[in-house]
């Protein structure tokens, strides 16, 4: 199926309303791993929004990528609790382990403040990380 046809299927599963924009963007991101300029235009046209508006929304959220990025992602919490529990001291090791191969993405709170430092890989949460655990988590991707 062409990209246009896949996006058309996604659009067909949602109401043609402005409020459907975020759910549609999530589906497109999940399907392709990114929402590019062409997808922005198709979605804008379908919802009768301007392409600038859709681009503004896509660029606002870190979870929406504008171009393919095949690297695996490890989200590491950088919010107050995890800072207090020492995430900063683990980051250099995590960056060394990731290199260019793994993308480390900062997030602000995964909702597990009492058991930080925390990280997330896909839908799996990882708590009480120390340096070794974080490095092995990164390397495992």
């Amino acid at each position: 199926m062409t990209t246009e046809a896949v996006i058309a299927e996604i659009l067909a599963a949602h109401p043609r309303e402005q409020s459907a924009l975020l759910p549609i963007l999530h589906d497109v991101q999940a399907e392709f791993g990114y929402v590019d300029a062409a997808a922005e235009r198709i979605i804008a046209d379908a919802l009768n929004l301007s392409r600038a508006e859709v681009h503004g929304v896509v660029s606002f959220y870190h979870d929406f990528r504008s171009a393919p990025d095949p690297r695996p992602v490890v989200q590491i919490c950088q919010a107050e609790s995890c800072k207090a529990r020492g995430i900063d001291t683990l980051m250099q090791a995590a960056r060394d382990a990731a290199g260019e191969r793994v993308r480390l993405a900062p997030v602000y709170c995964l909702g597990l403040c009492s058991v930080g430092p925390n990280a997330r890989v896909r839908d799996q949460l990882h708590a009480r990380l120390d340096e070794a655990q974080l490095v092995s988590l990164v390397k495992a991707q």
């Binding site: 300029a37 922005e40 235009r41 804008a44 009768n48 929004l49 301007s50 392409r51 600038a52 508006e53 681009h55 503004g56 660029s59 606002f60 959220y61 504008s66």
Partner: protein
């Protein structure tokens, strides 16, 4: 008037029935409920520092500069988003507020270049002003960290630049594009520190985005991030003159901001009642033609059109002209002479041209370009309502619930009004579009027509009659209104006529190609959806049944009671800046000013006494009749002020033959236009920037035009006409257009209360201005129709004689585009060509495929009248069987193709329907090549003036 930016009250004006009194810094202030604390403070003489607020936009509350303290409230609320409350006590300046504001300002300036002295906004910058107001003395953060300095500007737009390093991301530009213009071309890209203003998507610049260059963002920007290139070039203006735009019939008023005689920029005037502070790319930016190298500023004459032009003095040109006119009059009589007034010129200039023709030439052979645009409006609305004009002001659209647009493309042709309309549509009004093309209003971001009726060109009357059929047969007519305001017997005749099953949507579907169910739904919505307002344009008038269509529209409005209050009405969107005025001023061969027939003895006597001459009681010739008579040898001389009939009028070959047959063609214009190829005398004209006078816009609003620089040709246009009149011995002695306006008021009952002094005081007046309406009339017929009872006219659908067939199977319809204006004499000589360098032919993919045409291919466009070549654009905006083009470029000469068919009542040409064939081509047609040769020969100017 010096240069002071207009006062900005921070948040929009609020209208409310209740008033609230509060105390601000010890002052007692009373304002309408719902007003913001910021506006209350500013209007009572105590401005609050702010950056993200401006009174054209809804409060946003992001800059954290306008903080105040309110007794009994916690914290420091933003004054722009805090509404006033009774007995509220507000302090706008306290030590705590000072510290907070200074801290926030320090953060702004820590990422802003400190190059104020060399910045194009120097001394005209809200950031600079606010920094001064908050007492910024130090910026502790330095530039060592991340910053936005040194980012390259976006110079893609020809008129303004975007400098991201000067941007404070207040988003005023984004909100202006959304709220004021309604294009939504801008957004904030990214988030947090990385936020930046983005036109379109990531790879776009301003020119490639959806931006229509209206200038609203530039006007809203508090810094030099968005700035006119002309200000960057010339510096800050030193004075501002309020004047009226000379492009379309919306009649936007502008501040012409000047340095000496240099126009630095045109900024829409917030107090302008037609535009309410908004503008479009033409009025805001496209004034460079005034200084274009093609402008002719010296009079020129030639014995015959095969000779080169000779530059001569005004005296010689006028003596030559007067000599020719007198000789023709002596030999052929007064009726061999005529003139065309210009809808581009002022009321006073137009009045003088028709006076010259009637009183000086001695004939009534005077006509105007309204002949080819809105003459059916004049005829149709006078017949049904009693007055040849629209019924509403533009503000009225904000009270409309259902907006019916027929044969008009407001976003391109009347963009400032379209923005108002779109604002109302975003608020929830419903829209019906009747148009063969899917114009932008049918569907564009945040606007969606409830019904689009894509009718076959030429079937307006059938569609409107079918709508009337639904309204009457389904019992949706407002019979109380009709009994009260209209002739009940006539209504019943009309109702019987439209109720005939032959006028049902189902029966007429074969003709109109509009699905009956859709048409029925649209009719029901118009009749029952609340205030119904009809807006129409040349897609209504420029047909063989143009006048019938106008009357059919009036019938619909009367039958549904949609007349006589805000939010309803019948509104012609008039094309030219002063087409309403030109018609009002007696430009038609059968009418003196105020639409009074020349055969009416009492009116004629009034003019004869005032002018001291006898007038011909017989109506004169219309433009097409003048041309016919010229070909027949009975019409010999014409004075054409500010109109290019060769390019604008239908059937170019015939126009050329008529002009070529005359002995004296006088063209009075800014440029050697296409008509001048056939002229013997060229009198240089003045631009709207170089003259005083008045224009009357589509809402009957009379507004002053003020001289901001001396005419490059030495004379204002009314002075040229006066000089020609005096060369003919008429002895006119006007020294200012105010005197001409006094004469108009003296002779025209609907203008009785209009004077230059009064316009100086009140800025604008909507006629009628007389004893009955001393302050003018924003909405007409509040208490009844001028003619007494509203007149229902039976409008039988008669198909045009222009029919498709095997040789010419497609229907051509024509129109305009946003960035170009009519024949383009002005806009083609500005940077607006960045958006529209040539006319293209829109064709449906099916028709294109059948002909082997692809996007951008050359195609030959041929009708029974003529042929031309142009490039094609393949699009489903047009239906199969319909093609569309614009007529802005003389290289295309779209009117070579259009026919002689015209409106039965007014001779308004049938531009909108021509049967054509489209075939692949490899370049310009023979006519285009011949004509290019003629143009080159005809425009020769002798190097040395002959003695």
């Amino acid at each position: 008037m010096g240069y002071e930016p207009q006062a900005d009250f921070g948040t929009p004006e609020v209208r409310a029935d209740t008033q609230v009194t509060l105390t601000i810094d010890g002052r007692s202030v009373t304002v309408p409920a719902g007003t913001s604390v910021m506006r209350a403070a500013t209007t009572s003489g105590g401005a609050i520092p702010s950056l993200c607020a401006t009174d054209s936009l809804a409060a946003f509350g992001s800059c954290r500069m306008c903080l105040v303290e309110v007794e009994g409230m916690r914290g420091t609320p933003a004054s722009c988003t805090t509404p006033v409350a009774q007995d509220m006590i507000v302090r706008t300046q306290t030590p705590r507020l000072e510290k907070l504001r200074r801290g926030v300002m320090e953060l702004y300036i820590s990422d802003h270049p400190l190059d104020c002295l060399t910045c194009s906004a120097n001394n005209d910058c809200e950031l600079q002003d606010t920094a001064a107001e908050v007492g910024l003395r130090d910026v502790r953060y330095g530039y060592a960290g991340a910053h936005h300095l040194g980012q390259q500007p976006d110079l893609s737009n020809p008129y303004f630049l975007f400098a991201p390093d000067k941007c404070i991301v207040c988003s005023r530009c984004v909100r202006a594009c959304d709220e004021v213009q309604g294009t939504l071309a801008l957004s904030v890209e990214g988030r947090g520190f990385a936020s930046k203003i983005s036109a379109g998507q990531r790879a776009d610049d301003f020119l490639s985005s959806d931006c229509v260059s209206c200038g609203a963002c530039v006007q809203a920007c508090p810094t030099s991030a968005l700035m006119e290139k002309s200000v960057k070039e010339h510096g800050k203006p030193e004075r501002a003159v309020i004047t009226t735009c000379a492009y379309c019939g919306v009649g936007c008023t502008f501040r012409a901001e000047m340095r000496g005689e240099q126009l630095v920029r045109m900024v829409p005037w917030k107090d302008g009642k037609a535009n309410r502070g908004h503008s479009c790319v033409k009025g805001r930016f496209a004034w460079g033609y005034a200084h274009h190298q093609d402008r002719i500023t010296t009079p020129m004459i030639r014995e015959s059109v095969d000779q080169p032009w000779r530059e001569v003095s005004w005296d010689e040109a006028l003596a030559f002209t007067a000599g020719r006119i007198s000789a023709i009059k002596a030999q052929h009589g007064a009726r061999a002479l005529g003139g065309i007034t210009s809808s581009r010129c002022t009321n006073e200039e137009t009045f003088l041209v028709q006076k010259l023709v009637r009183a000086g030439f001695g004939s009534n052979n005077v006509d105007t370009c309204a002949r080819v645009c809105h003459s059916p409006t004049g005829y149709g609305l006078k017949t049904t309502f009693g007055t040849s004009a629209g019924t509403q002001d533009f503000d009225s659209v904000m009270d409309a619930d259902v907006i019916l647009v027929i044969g008009a493309n407001p976003t391109d042709a009347h963009p400032v009004f379209a923005s108002r309309m779109k604002r109302r549509l975003r608020q929830g009004a419903q829209l019906i579009v009747i148009d063969p093309r899917r114009i932008d209003l049918v569907r564009s971001p945040h606007v969606q027509a409830a019904h689009h009726l894509p009718l076959q060109p030429g079937t307006n009357v059938a569609v409107l009659t079918a709508m009337a059929h639904v309204i009457v047969t389904e019992g949706l007519a407002d019979e109380d209104f009709v009994r009260d305001r209209c002739d009940w017997d006539e209504y019943q005749d009309w109702a019987r006529f439209v109720s005939d099953p032959q006028h049902s949507p189902e029966f007429l579907e074969a003709v109109t190609k509009v699905p009956a169910a859709e048409l029925r739904a649209a009719a029901r919505l118009y009749a029952t959806g609340g205030n119904g307002a009809i807006y129409y344009g040349l897609g209504v008038t420029e047909h063989s049944q143009g006048s019938s269509t106008v009357m059919a529209i009036a019938n619909l409005a009367m039958a549904t009671g949609n007349i006589g209050r805000p939010g309803v009405g019948v509104n012609p969107l008039r094309g030219q800046n002063n087409v309403q005025g030109a018609c009002d001023m007696g430009s038609f061969p059968h009418e003196l000013s105020g639409y009074r027939h020349i055969s009416d003895g009492a009116t004629r006597t009034m003019f004869e006494q005032d002018w001291g001459v006898a007038l011909d009681p017989e109506p004169g010739l219309r433009i097409p009749n003048m041309l016919d008579a010229a070909v027949d040898g009975t019409f010999k001389a014409i004075y054409i002020q500010g109109e290019d009939i060769l390019q604008s009028d239908p059937n170019t070959h015939h126009v050329a033959a008529g002009l070529a047959a005359m002995d004296c063609v006088i063209v009075h214009d800014l440029f050697l236009n296409e008509t001048a190829n056939y002229a013997h005398v060229f009198l240089p004209g003045s631009t709207f920037l170089e003259k005083n006078g008045t224009f009357t816009n589509a809402e009957r609003r009379i507004q002053p035009v003020r001289k901001v620089m001396e005419p490059a040709n030495g004379l204002e246009d009314w002075q040229v006409t006066q000089a020609l009149a005096n060369a003919l011995g008429l002895g006119w002695a006007y020294t200012h257009p105010a005197q001409i306006l006094d004469e108009i008021a003296r002779l025209t009952p609907t203008f009785a209360g209009v004077s230059w002094d009064r316009l100086e005081r009140e800025a604008s007046l909507q006629w009628p201005v007389n004893d009955q309406f001393p302050d003018g009339a924003p909405v007409m017929y509040v208490d009844g129709f001028v003619r007494g009872k509203g007149h229902f006219v039976v409008t039988d659908y008669v198909p045009t004689d222009e029919k498709t067939g095997p040789r010419y199977p497609l229907l051509l319809t024509t129109g305009r585009i946003l960035s170009q204006y009519n024949v383009g004499a002005q806009t083609r000589r500005t940077a607006n060509t960045a958006w529209h360098p040539e006319d293209v032919l829109e064709i449906h993919p099916l028709d294109a495929e059948n002909r082997g045409l692809k996007e951008g291919d050359w195609a030959r466009l041929a009708s029974r009248t003529g042929e031309t070549s142009l490039r094609v654009s393949v699009t489903d905006r047009v239906a199969p069987g319909v093609v569309y083009t614009t007529f802005h470029h003389p290289e295309t000469q779209a009117n070579v193709v259009t026919t002689d068919y015209s409106d039965w009542a007014t001779n308004c040409p049938e531009y909108k329907v021509t049967a054509v064939q489209v075939t692949p081509s490899n370049g310009p047609s023979d006519w285009q090549e011949d004509y290019a040769g003629l143009t080159a020969r005809s425009r020769r100017i002798a190097a040395e003036p002959a003695e």
